[in-house]
Symmetry: none
Subunit: 195 residues, 2 copies
């Protein structure tokens, strides 16, 4: 395999396209997109990518991406500088962000964080929390709780007087539930977007 495989480059363009339009275009358009003049070249490419596990045929004979299609490479931080391009061949590990963060979609919801009460825990206003819905939690878990008809994300704690909700910000005080403490779910992931 002396030939530097251009298939990764082709795959990348397909990934970009799918990210934009949520569909795999026809062979003719793929060719146009990748700079191929004939559909047979595309056909060959599709066979290769299918073998590699990035594409598959849906039951109705339509071309569709596989799970692996959505995986991203995970590079290690400490890579002593190879060339930046080396990150491509680093072949460390790949993962799909969704699978990584949301293993149980049906019991997970996304909640946008309001306020700074968990700032010291690295949870900022505007972040999105992945909450797994359940009513039980362990001490030390970050829980989305319902207190006085309001949702709030805090650490679940306990002292001799009972359970409390501990903020991670010196400007806030622990909340001691007056009546009952209802736990909506447990924080299992966090997503932040910059810019």
């Amino acid at each position: 395999m002396g030939n530097p495989n251009r298939d990764h480059e082709y795959l990348a363009k397909l990934q970009d396209y799918f990210a934009s339009y949520r569909s795999i275009p026809s062979y003719a358009v793929i060719g146009e997109l990748l700079g191929m003049a004939s559909k047979s070249a595309v056909s060959a490419l599709v066979k290769r990518l299918s073998l590699a596990g990035y594409l598959e045929m849906s039951p109705d004979k339509r071309l569709a991406p596989t799970k692996r299609f959505f995986e991203r490479e995970l590079a290690d931080f400490n890579v002593p500088a190879g060339l930046p391009a080396a990150a491509n061949d680093a072949m460390s590990e790949s993962l799909s962000v969704d699978d990584y963060l949301i293993p149980r979609p049906s019991s997970s919801i996304l909640v946008r964080i309001k306020g700074d009460s968990m700032m010291d825990a690295g949870i900022f206003d505007g972040d999105i929390a992945v909450i797994e819905k359940r009513h039980a939690a362990n001490l030390g878990d970050y829980v989305l709780a319902i207190v006085d008809n309001e949702y709030t994300l805090k650490e679940l704690g306990r002292d001799k007087q009972g359970y409390l909700l501990i903020p991670h910000n010196p400007d806030f005080s622990p909340i001691r539930p007056t009546h009952s403490l209802e736990i909506f779910g447990v924080l299992t992931g966090l997503i932040r977007k910059y810019r």
Copy 2:
């Protein structure tokens, strides 16, 4: 229109199908799927769903789901008043988080954070950073830079002596590149997993 619109039911089946196979089937198959015997009925349905904003034509005239296609019914969970500002942004199983965090897959890479030098910016050891590969950045951006053959994530700053890399942790000092400063990419997203 005595008939309660069955379109929602049809939409639901399409959503299920797409969730399974990541593609929209042909009109014939859609008909089969929904119990319609003719493609003209499907054609009409597609027009309705397109008008409602659930489907659209991709640039190559292929049927594709829109963002709204992936929105989840809020009515699904009967949460007492004041549903936690649910992130309507992106909710679905497969595409959502990827789509939200990684608009350009081919130029994005995932990097696992090592060390606490950005702790005060809410970026912790073990978090995963979404880096968009490019060589230019603005002051104030968090950049993945290559300094002395090591990758490091810092804020890009500048003073009268030139560029520097600013950590967000009082225990660390700003880094002043001795020779050259190479920027590998810019931080565009952050992912953290609990437990």
